[in-house]
Symmetry: C2
Subunit: 180 residues, 2 copies
């Protein structure tokens, strides 16, 4: 994105032709405005880059927010499943005594234990997604914006310097041609 104005800048409009400086004041003014336009385009590119980055990170945030909801629902469903199985089992006292001696009952209990653990794990993942990930991405966005502001300021400053030097050069060339 940023390469196109740079490429244009490397061969600035009419700069290679020394005759251009001999042209009228209006033309000289147009030339300076053109250079300034290109420098401004550079800054504009930087801004677009920031906007795109913020847009992607916002999308990532949205993804993690919605993913957290999916994880939370999954965790809730697993927990509900375990609880309903235990409630069904507890409702029949007689069953409990009969079940105690069976090895399949141990297997059943283990299965419920695993499922409860999975439910807790997905609950934790949901929290990590909805809190840590989202705030971490917000931090990234802040950083990008801070970096952008710094880059823009440095860019604007150097552009001012360049314009100043360019004006000086134009004056020098003018004087040179007058005394030539």
């Amino acid at each position: 994105m940023a390469s196109s104005p740079n490429a244009e800048l490397s061969v600035p409009f009419g700069f290679s032709r020394t005759s251009s400086l001999r042209r009228s004041g209006r033309k000289r003014h147009t030339f300076a405005a053109h250079i300034r336009q290109q420098l401004n385009d550079q800054l504009k590119c930087l801004e677009i880059k920031l906007e795109t980055e913020v847009c992607i990170v916002t999308e990532l945030q949205e993804f993690f927010r919605r993913r957290a909801e999916v994880e939370q629902e999954y965790a809730r469903n697993l927990d509900k499943l375990v609880k309903s199985m235990i409630t069904r089992h507890r409702a029949e006292k007689q069953k409990q005594e009969q079940w105690a001696t069976m090895s399949t009952s141990a297997c059943w209990k283990h299965l419920l234990g695993i499922t409860r653990k999975q439910s807790q794990d997905h609950q934790s993942v949901a929290e990590i997604y909805s809190n840590h990930m989202v705030s971490r991405l917000a931090e990234i966005m802040d950083n990008s914006q801070r970096i952008f502001r710094k880059c823009r300021d440095i860019g604007a400053e150097s552009h001012e310097d360049m314009m100043k030097v360019l004006n000086e050069l134009q004056s020098a060339m003018k004087t040179y041609h007058i005394y030539q």
Copy 2:
């Protein structure tokens, strides 16, 4: 469960006292009925054991059926999330071009890819649970029932043998006491 009638059988009612065989025909009949009752209790225990096992395996089947539903819903939600993110992205053509050059965009794409893979994995797990696990548990139930029937037949047969030998023993004792 099965140990209690066994323990009773090891010291059968009135069997240790030799005088018992001298008692009236009614008492001898009661004694034989008592033994038969204990043997039948043994078979009853076997039946209760089968019922408990079938009950647990049915519960496991129910668990896997409902777990499959939970997995399927999770897979569906993950897939829906990925699709909605892609649809949102596709709706804005301009965005696509801007995003192409950003490294965060690659990260976003990778994340969607992982999520889609997870959705497919959980869909597979749901199918395994609802089809393979449930039918495998049905097989286990069938096996238990077949084993039970075989055990019950062998038990009943050996009980008949025992009762026959007991009757013969009683007759022999009676004859012995007559000729004593």
